[in-house]
């Protein structure tokens, strides 16, 4: 097993072409931006869903989970409608600030973030629902205001869930294809992430070898992200439970 992995992966990293490095770096960057921006939003959304009661909650819940069940191409198209130069949000952005989002790296990050959002909300929500509200009550009676209770009790106890959400989101963002190709297109060096590069290679006659290398790269990246988070999460959980001390 190990020997075979070594044969596949070692030469791959020694001989990655400039183009492959570009694709990998861009993919990591897009996924990282998507995760960093979506995570706090996902946590806030999950908090509202888990703790607050408001009219139309069922509808909001459905809306948030929509990207999970809609064809990704449809999500990409909707994003294009909203953020295109004549879109509801994209129009004013372009006219007032001269900012274009569609068909840029930002668009790739937005697409990846939107597609990863439901997963991240779910992971956050599980950790918030597992949170013992009695501990927060105790903190209140000890004189801590709502803010201090949140930062000193609720947030630290949700940390494992936040890490899970971040990894799941990151891995999902790395693999985003459908929404990205519609909303951000397939521009080398700008929006051509790993899945899009694989797609392009497969379209090209005789590029199966290149495609295979990219496939290997994408498996490796996803696996690395998941393993790293698993280790990190386990350490955090141990620390919270006090096993490591």
């Amino acid at each position: 097993m190990f020997w075979r992995h070594g044969v596949i992966f070692a030469p791959m990293f020694a001989y990655l072409s400039l183009e492959e490095w570009t694709v990998l770096a861009l993919s990591l960057r897009v996924a990282a931006i998507a995760t960093v921006i979506a995570l706090p939003l996902a946590f806030a959304t999950a908090w509202a869903l888990a703790r607050k009661h408001f009219p139309g909650k069922a509808f909001v819940k459905g809306l948030i989970h929509l990207p999970m069940v809609l064809p990704p191409v449809v999500v990409g198209y909707l994003l294009l409608l909203a953020f295109g130069r004549r879109g509801l949000i994209g129009g004013p952005l372009y006219e007032w600030f001269g900012v274009t989002i569609a068909f840029t790296t930002t668009a790739a990050a937005v697409a990846a973030g939107v597609m990863a959002f439901p997963l991240m909300v779910r992971a956050c929500r599980l950790s918030i629902e597992a949170l013992d509200a009695k501990l927060e009550e105790a903190a209140l009676t000890l004189g801590a205001g709502r803010m201090r209770v949140f930062w000193s009790v609720s947030a630290p106890l949700c940390l494992p869930g936040l890490l899970t959400a971040a990894t799941l989101g990151f891995a999902r963002a790395l693999g985003e294809f459908g929404a990205t190709i519609v909303f951000a297109a397939n521009i080398p060096g700008e929006t051509r992430t790993l899945p899009l590069a694989i797609y392009s290679a497969l379209q090209q006659p005789g590029a199966e070898g290149a495609a295979a290398r990219l496939v290997g790269l994408s498996i490796f990246a996803a696996l690395a992200a998941l393993t790293a988070s698993e280790l990190l999460e386990r350490r955090t959980r141990h620390r919270l439970r006090g096993d490591a001390a």
């Binding site: 009695k134 009550e137 105790a138 209140l140 009676t141 000890l142 801590a144 919270l240 006090g242 001390a245």
Partner: protein, 229 residues
């Protein structure tokens, strides 16, 4: 001199049981006051109203004349502003903090001089560095009491702090509670259904039955007949 006066009406938001309603009035002064009565009589609800964790629909709660909660004027001080220390049935220690950090969570100054005093009173010297998960039930409850005391409360509210412990743990903790009530550093309001605890800890006893005060007076109110049911 401390004077907590309570005259409130409260009913649960979602009715559990057929129309439970609390209609209660009493005063607690310095020393230990025991709210004594059978389970389900409304003792815990009363304590939660005083702590600010529930909002009475009627009446007022005042501490030394200042209103904490007044349904008529709409005054309602949130729990963190009431200056009480609360000990619950469960220890409710913060699992991500050490024993020492738990103790100091509500302390007004980070390095409290009273830390040594209270760790000694409750026998916590050897536990300070420990993780809360490594404590026995009785130890955890002692830490919870210490944590509530270190916030330097105007009054300590205790809600059946021994109810979740088995017999030997109870026996282990009772002397600490006795020392606490006898030291008279801080007035205590103590909720219990156990006649033994009430007898050993109380100066003043308020007997609560079905959400109402049935009698108020000294320990003589605790007859063996009302002990368990």
């Amino acid at each position: 001199m401390t004077r907590l006066s309570v005259d409130i009406g409260w009913r649960p938001r979602r009715k559990h049981g057929p129309g439970f309603a609390l209609e209660i009035a009493f005063e607690a002064l310095s020393g230990a006051t025991i709210l004594f009565g059978p389970s389900g009589a409304g003792k815990t609800a009363t304590l939660r109203c005083i702590a600010g964790l529930e909002k009475p629909q009627r009446g007022r709660i005042t501490m030394n004349g200042a209103p904490l909660s007044d349904a008529e004027t709409g005054v309602f001080l949130p729990p963190e502003k009431r200056g009480f220390g609360v000990v619950f049935q469960e220890a409710r220690l913060f699992p991500h903090l050490s024993v020492e950090a738990n103790l100091l969570y509500g302390a007004p100054d980070r390095r409290s001089a009273s830390l040594d005093e209270i760790t000694e009173l409750l026998g916590l010297e050897d536990l300070l560095e420990r993780r809360t998960q490594r404590l026995s039930g009785g130890e955890a409850q002692r830490v919870a009491i210490g944590r509530a005391l270190l916030r330097q409360p105007r009054m300590l509210l205790m809600d059946e702090p021994l109810a979740n412990l088995d017999g030997s743990r109870k026996a282990e903790l009772l002397p600490y509670l006795e020392a606490l009530t006898k030291s008279a550093g801080c007035p205590i309001l103590y909720v219990t259904h156990s006649a033994e605890e009430a007898r050993r800890l109380g100066d003043n006893v308020i007997r609560i039955v079905d959400g109402r005060v049935a009698a108020a007076g000294g320990v003589e109110l605790i007859g063996p007949a009302v002990a368990m049911r």
